[in-house]
């Protein structure tokens, strides 16, 4: 497979901020490549290394619930702001380390490591 995802920030001719999730593919594009909505629909999803919530918020409309976790508290604060702004209610964000996940066994159907490993 060798296709080009559409422009990630919706067009050219504008400054792209450094270290922004806008530099990455859109959640829609990534999900399409991975297999499309059936991969997420009705699932319990963990976005590990969620950053500012780019992907977690992108897949939330399809998922039963989404948890996002990231070691960076500032990124989590941004993710929470983005969730409030988007009016998404089935997503929760928390600061934490991947080595000690604060979730019970078998809590998720899908774990996403997007630009994390």
């Amino acid at each position: 497979m060798s296709r080009v995802a559409k422009d990630s920030v919706g067009g050219f001719g504008r400054h792209v901020p450094a270290l922004s999730s806008a530099l990455r593919p859109s959640p829609h594009d990534e999900l399409r490549e991975w297999g499309g909505p059936p991969l997420v629909r009705g699932k319990r999803v963990l976005d590990l290394g969620c950053g500012d919530g780019r992907l977690a918020l992108g897949v939330a409309p399809l998922a039963t619930r989404v948890e996002g976790i990231d070691p960076d508290p500032e990124a989590i604060a941004a993710a929470k702001r983005n969730a409030r702004k988007a009016g998404v209610r089935n997503v929760r964000f928390a600061a934490g380390a991947a080595q000690h996940l604060p979730y019970p066994d078998a809590a998720f159907d899908l774990v996403i490591l997007s630009w994390t490993l």
Binding site: Q99, L101, W115
Partner: protein, 148 residues
């Protein structure tokens, strides 16, 4: 990283899916000028040695947890992603400030061409790889993965 994937296996229901998606440093990235129709290649952008080493370490970790029977590979692929820049100066600024790529592109057009088109819109076209792995019910062997 292995201990993190052991944790991922713990929180995933048996049969659940792990998606690992990240830049694909096995192939080069390209600096391209946007034309009215299509793109013109201006240069090659190589991945930094540090990031190449990190990517190999990540590959090793995935291989390890598959070998240890925590996950089974299901599907993988690659797609291309364009990062847009308003002009050539913005693209160069990005290369200077980011660690993933080397800080200077290897240009395939001459300096006069770069100068002539410096105010045009540019992209870095880079590959993104992904792999879907299925969480297995229990390790296939008697020596579960341990952190490196």
């Amino acid at each position: 990283m292995v201990d993190a994937l052991v944790e991922v296996h713990r929180v995933l229901a048996p049969g659940g899916t792990l998606v690992d998606a990240r830049p694909d440093s096995r192939v080069q990235a390209y600096a391209e000028r946007r034309k009215p129709r299509g793109f013109q290649r201006f240069g090659v952008v190589k991945t930094s040695r540090l990031e190449l080493a990190n990517d190999r370490a990540s590959d090793h970790v995935i291989t390890r947890v598959v070998r240890d029977g925590l996950f089974e590979r299901r599907r993988s692929g690659r797609f291309w992603h364009r990062v847009p820049f308003s002009d050539l100066a913005e693209l160069r600024k990005y290369l200077r400030e980011h660690l993933r790529f080397v800080h200077r592109a290897e240009w395939v057009v001459d300096a006069a061409t770069r100068k002539r088109h410096s105010n045009d819109q540019f992209v870095i076209r880079r590959a993104v790889r992904y792999e879907l792995l299925e969480a297995l019910r229990s390790p296939r062997n008697n020596s579960p993965a341990r952190p490196d």
